[in-house]
Amino acid sequence: MSTTTETSLLAAQLPSRFSFVRSRDFPLIPLLILGIIAFVAVFADLLAPHDPQVGSLAARFHPPFWLAGGSTDYLLGTDQLGRDVLSRLIFGARVSMVVGFTAVIFAGVVGTTLGIISGYLGGWVDQVIMRVVDAWLALPALSFAIFLAAIVGPSEMNIVIILGLVFWTRYARIVRGEVLSLKEREFVRLAIVAGCSKWTIMRRHILPNVVNSAIVLASLMLGVVIIAEASLSFLGVGVPPPKPAWGVMLSDGKQGLMVGYWWLTVFPGCCIMLMVLSSNLLGDWLRVKLDPQLRQL
């Protein structure tokens, strides 16, 4: 591990601050893809040619424009209720981005906070938090998500909360591990001697040092969350219709797959794939750059 760490550190110390952009493993394409998705999500209202939620049953299953029977009115065709697939993809970017990011951030904030508290305070607080973490990690994530969905009812907001509640434990575990070793470091001891309160130490000294790991984990979790959202839709408890999340489109369109209406699934499937793949490649890169310790995630 030492050699690669050294080389990456060296790379980071090169004169130009942005030299890493030119390095051969820089994830330019993944960043571009995520950038485009974010752009589309923000400007969905301007970009989408049709209302994503309203369609006409008379215009069901139009194929994409380049196929026989397709028209340039509906560039990527229409779905089972005659809604424009392209517009749904564009608004879907927004829903998927919002759900994905908020869930990851929510899980990250809860998990990191509890991880820091658990690791730094130790004692019974640590015991309580870690036993809960162990128990929750032993719950099968998807089925747990289904209960929660059944309790709170499906809505975008609730999906975020559910995914957050299911995934926070992963942050808590890793962050706690890091805090345990940070606690023994010189600067923390000095802060204690200087009379800083526990909360100040946790906020000022511990938190900044675990943020990197949390960010790396978050970039990897983004993919997990997007796939989990799609899987919940498949099981009937995802983002509720008529909101166009990619996962919902994929699972609603899956019937069409057997029938030849491939555009209902292939397009959202590709979007999900590109987004998850990009966030994973980005995460892999960040992992090497920011935090060599996390390689084993």
């Binding site: 591990m1 032993a138 099981l235 899956k254 797959l257 794939m273 490649l281």
Partner: protein, 306 residues
């Protein structure tokens, strides 16, 4: 060492009790199973009869204590939906799940280990990128989508494989691949980093200095050491697979434990949900415990930490 194991065991037990509490109360706030056993508009008396039959008319605490008491005797209760002992249902599904997970794990390792090694040894080469991409693709596509595409191609279009069900080795191929592919990326990543770590170590440098051929160094010396963490993770993931296979099991009508749990949740079949989650949780806790103990045996420093 003894003390370490005892303390660890204690933690595991506490975790399982927290798990049982969580699942017991969560599943009960999800709604009334009677709603699904009668049509809307059924008489109140019918619903009350169902509540009584399942003991749902008792106070929650009493229900929980009864459940724990029975659990201690190895009795997981009677399924509401199947009207069969949960343990019997579970045991009838477990072999299928184990089989699926074992084959899926083989696929996963078959993809993950070579791509991981390539990524570590030939950094930046075409094969590194291609392998990495293939492993990551499995993580990037929802498994129901992969599964349906495979059914469409291999069953309907080519006619090579049965679309669903169980019984023969042919039935296993598609579900095992769909499940295994998702886990391949994790194994690839760990293989890569663990390989890099081993390759950077002194004895490998030494072996190289001695002029041993690259293939031998990697294939024999490095691989042996680098595999240990990957196989440990594979052990943990194997248990995880049993519990997360629900999507694949649904698509391929594979009669495993994941499907049993999912149906349990949808039918509000409380005893099934409780039983499956607790047994699954116990498996995960036990595997984690074994891994902890194993590592403590290897590295005594770990014992000092909690």
């Amino acid at each position: 060492m003894k003390q370490f194991i005892i303390r660890r065991l204690g933690y595991s037990l506490i975790s399982l009790i927290v798990l049982s509490l969580t699942i017991f109360f969560f599943v009960r706030v999800t709604g009334d199973p009677a709603t699904l056993l009668v049509e809307p508009g059924a008489s109140e008396a019918d619903i009350a009869a169902i509540h009584h039959q399942f003991g749902l008319d008792r106070p929650l605490v009493v229900q929980y204590l009864l459940f724990m008491a029975n659990l201690a005797r190895g009795d997981l209760g009677q399924s509401f939906y199947y009207q069969m002992p949960v343990s019997e249902l579970y045991l009838s599904r477990l072999p299928n799940s184990l089989l699926l997970a074992a084959v899926a794990m083989s696929f996963s390792l078959l993809i993950g280990i070579p791509t991981g090694i390539l990524a570590a040894v030939r950094v930046g080469s075409f094969w590194d990128s291609a392998g990495k991409l293939f492993a990551l693709l499995g993580l990037s596509l929802p498994s129901f989508f992969v599964g349906l595409l495979m059914i469409l191609f291999f069953s309907v279009y080519l006619g090579w494989l049965p679309s669903s069900g169980s019984g023969t080795a042919l039935h296993l191929i598609m579900p095992a691949f769909a499940l295994g592919w998702y886990f391949a990326a994790a194994h690839m990543r760990l293989m890569r980093s663990s390989m890099l770590e081993v390759l950077g170590s002194e004895y490998i440098k030494l072996a190289r200095l001695k002029g041993l051929p690259q293939a031998l160094v990697i294939g024999k010396h490095a691989l042996k050491n680098a595999l240990t963490p990957v196989l440990t993770l594979a052990g943990i993931n194997l248990v995880l697979m049993i519990n997360v296979a629900v999507i694949v099991e649904t698509v391929f009508a594979w009669p495993g434990v994941g499907r049993l749990l999912y149906e349990g949740v949808s039918f509000r079949d409380f005893p099934v949900v409780q039983g499956v989650v607790i047994l699954g949780g116990a498996m995960i806790v036990v595997v984690n415990l074994l891994v902890d103990i194993l590592y403590a045996v290897i590295d005594p420093r770990i014992r000092l930490e909690t």
